[in-house]
Symmetry: D2
Subunit: 269 residues, 4 copies
Amino acid sequence: MAKSKFEYVRNFELDDTCLRNCYIVVRLDGRNLHKFSDQHNFTKPNDDRALGLMSRSACSVMEELDDITIAYGQSDEFSFVFKRSTNWFKRRASKLMTHVTSQFSSSFVFYWKEYFGEQPLLYPPSFDGRVVLYPSNRNVRDYLSWRQADCHINNLYNTAFWTLVQKGGLTTTQAEERLNGTLATDKNEILFSEFNINYNNESSVYKKGTTLIWEKVNETTTKQIKRPNEEETEVTVTRTRKKVTSHSCDVIGDQFWDEHPDILESEQC
Amino acid sequence: MAKSKFEYVRNFELDDTCLRNCYIVVRLDGRNLHKFSDQHNFTKPNDDRALGLMSRSACSVMEELDDITIAYGQSDEFSFVFKRSTNWFKRRASKLMTHVTSQFSSSFVFYWKEYFGEQPLLYPPSFDGRVVLYPSNRNVRDYLSWRQADCHINNLYNTAFWTLVQKGGLTTTQAEERLNGTLATDKNEILFSEFNINYNNESSVYKKGTTLIWEKVNETTTKQIKRPNEEETEVTVTRTRKKVTSHSCDVIGDQFWDEHPDILESEQC
Amino acid sequence: MAKSKFEYVRNFELDDTCLRNCYIVVRLDGRNLHKFSDQHNFTKPNDDRALGLMSRSACSVMEELDDITIAYGQSDEFSFVFKRSTNWFKRRASKLMTHVTSQFSSSFVFYWKEYFGEQPLLYPPSFDGRVVLYPSNRNVRDYLSWRQADCHINNLYNTAFWTLVQKGGLTTTQAEERLNGTLATDKNEILFSEFNINYNNESSVYKKGTTLIWEKVNETTTKQIKRPNEEETEVTVTRTRKKVTSHSCDVIGDQFWDEHPDILESEQC
Amino acid sequence: MAKSKFEYVRNFELDDTCLRNCYIVVRLDGRNLHKFSDQHNFTKPNDDRALGLMSRSACSVMEELDDITIAYGQSDEFSFVFKRSTNWFKRRASKLMTHVTSQFSSSFVFYWKEYFGEQPLLYPPSFDGRVVLYPSNRNVRDYLSWRQADCHINNLYNTAFWTLVQKGGLTTTQAEERLNGTLATDKNEILFSEFNINYNNESSVYKKGTTLIWEKVNETTTKQIKRPNEEETEVTVTRTRKKVTSHSCDVIGDQFWDEHPDILESEQC
């Protein structure tokens, strides 16, 4: 069987290497997640189990794949930022986006039970991914700010919407009409004056989304040691290791970035 | 919160539309599948459970995503061919490859139990994907021939290798040395003369891989119907619907293509 | 001086290889050619000198660069079709389009005098180029048909427009208004009934544009030969060589393609 | 004639927009310039007429096309740097590279006579172009440093080589062998000890190449004005305008960039 006769087809594969010295962002979005959340009875406007599972899956991506320094998620989307100088998979866009998407998708099913317990997953869900390049620190920070601003806008809307429905007795159509054309201050006012809800007191994971970074964590273990001819003694060992940690904080202002100077590389000037 | 201030970052996303009038092939490959198969005690050289699960996942991809007319899998890889004229996701390469990869990966975990029963999946596996375009029917047939020729070559080698180890008592290093430089005929001869194995009698799914296509299937259902003032009667209803069917046949020669003229579109000349 | 220190910048160059087994079309368009034609007093609606110079420049491109089998020009544009299997410059899009554009531009200035005589070229003109891929013979024929249909539509309009201005005494604004909303038949009628011009009798180079192809041409040379002790005799030598030939014919119908079966490669089926 | 029937072919054109917030560099290289320089009797190792014509053509590119802030040339190549934020031709790579190449090529022929006088241009020359993106100021400076380091290395070699041939009486093969494996210091030493040439005193345009930038230039014009009932007076008017200026200076160190802070945009941090 002549292998070589067909092998010319390899040459149809085109190169899709990402431009160097740029941050590579892979963003995932759930496919038909609206229908999926209805079929799995997600709590509205936010389902803690689903948000937890999304973060768990994103954490799995960071642990398995190299060179992701920060990930940010909200609702049914998650973004992963590879470091500027990464050479993972030779910066091939297709490899980067499919590996992230694959690891996230298989993790979502794998860890389902940890978050939804006995409630069964009805069918395998699907996510789509894309790659976007950002040449400067400012650009990549603005990207994350864009997603967090989007999170805020959507969550305020959804909180007002579902409060009007769940506590105010409106139909979804009525709630939609009620909120049509309202500003952020209007929605805050509706929540406060009609339902005694202070939006500022809402959970920050809803308002700010989830930010995953690598941090050094001290892990302390204590052991009882018994040497011959000695009394038993207690030995405490502290080891430092890097671990993915989760935060629900503001990433738009400077404070977060000042506190974590290692996430973005210093600019070459 | 000024949404618009950050929204300029959307313009960094680049277009990756696939050239029209070309077949779009998405190929998936398992990541570190060698290690994965060891950790999950896959039977060598072929594990029927794993092959079944791969096909089940590929089937899920075909059922969920539009416009895939044929898929071909062997070992830890699967290729999906979108029809030439597909406009699914506006032919955007990133959407096509990530949706296929995601659906396959989540299905692999979702259907694990159906194939591996109580043996647990130890961690979420990962697959990578790529997109390749083929302008002509000849090219796409040669692509599938290339993968099937590869299947044959690898399976003959693996069958000889593991027979030498499992039945011949050789170490893996000895088996490797024994096969070094041998031709196909040599491997057939080793199997036949030393182990009384006729390679031609091996399962065709091992030798030819798995081909999935859409076929019209007649489904017959029988119901007992009882109308007032009538005796109960049995009614048989036959419906025709399209279904993904699995084949382990030769796709290099013309016969398969003559029998299934609808898989490839007729050439515009 | 450390060369290597800076050489990393080479890695920022991205690959732009054209998909194989596709026709590569490079189309050039004049930049600000309207202003250019005014400043150089081009005859309206068609300037034979300019059309001749365009064709001469295109001919220079075909003679200098490999693997162009057909070129088609009209107005201030010219398209060049590379053969499907070309490997010229490894099919790199940037090389292909810049070489065509460069050769055309330098030829346009170089041969100016042959067409415009003592009328000086006032400044160096500029053309832009692009690459488009076509996977099938049908596609590339439809591309050429598209440009020739465009030629016809524009030329009929321009002929009617400039006749109304030059012979009918209308201002350009009046001519524009007069033609606004008219169909092809209306324009033909205006030309015929008001100016006694039968559009069908217009020069085919205006109506059909210019098609350049390679053809075998017999070249006959005659020499007087005088051998010792013989009478002087006339010897005729006929040599066949490939030459770029120019045609102003229909390329939309089948006849042209039937007569020149070598321009497009036979389809792989 | 059905225009629409063929117009679908437009959709085969693919987008090639350059990533934003990156410097866009277009580099041109002469095609077969070695042969060209022989046929036109260029002086070795450097021909002032040819270098002048290259710079004149590059100057024409900068004057005609928008947003080029610096150009650098040496030998038969020229690089043009578009500003980071340019939106010229919507950042489409094909438009950018073909327009630069076209303007350069037509200018090269157009201005030939100004530099070569009565010596005729034998045929239209060709240049190829490419686009490379650089995300940071450091990268684009390193790109220019790379080209200037290349200029130095080549010019020292060529100066030594042609001195050995022209003054030392060596054949070109002998000169090549003599220089094989020599370091920069060796070449300097050969020039100095054998031919009494101090390489440092060579023309800086040979050693450093040509850098073109935009600078504000004061232009003073003097007019005699005679008003009624007044004596004739001389009036001097000074106007400031931007003009392309040529420099043969070091662009590797900081001094040039400190003196011209407007060429590169300040980094967004």
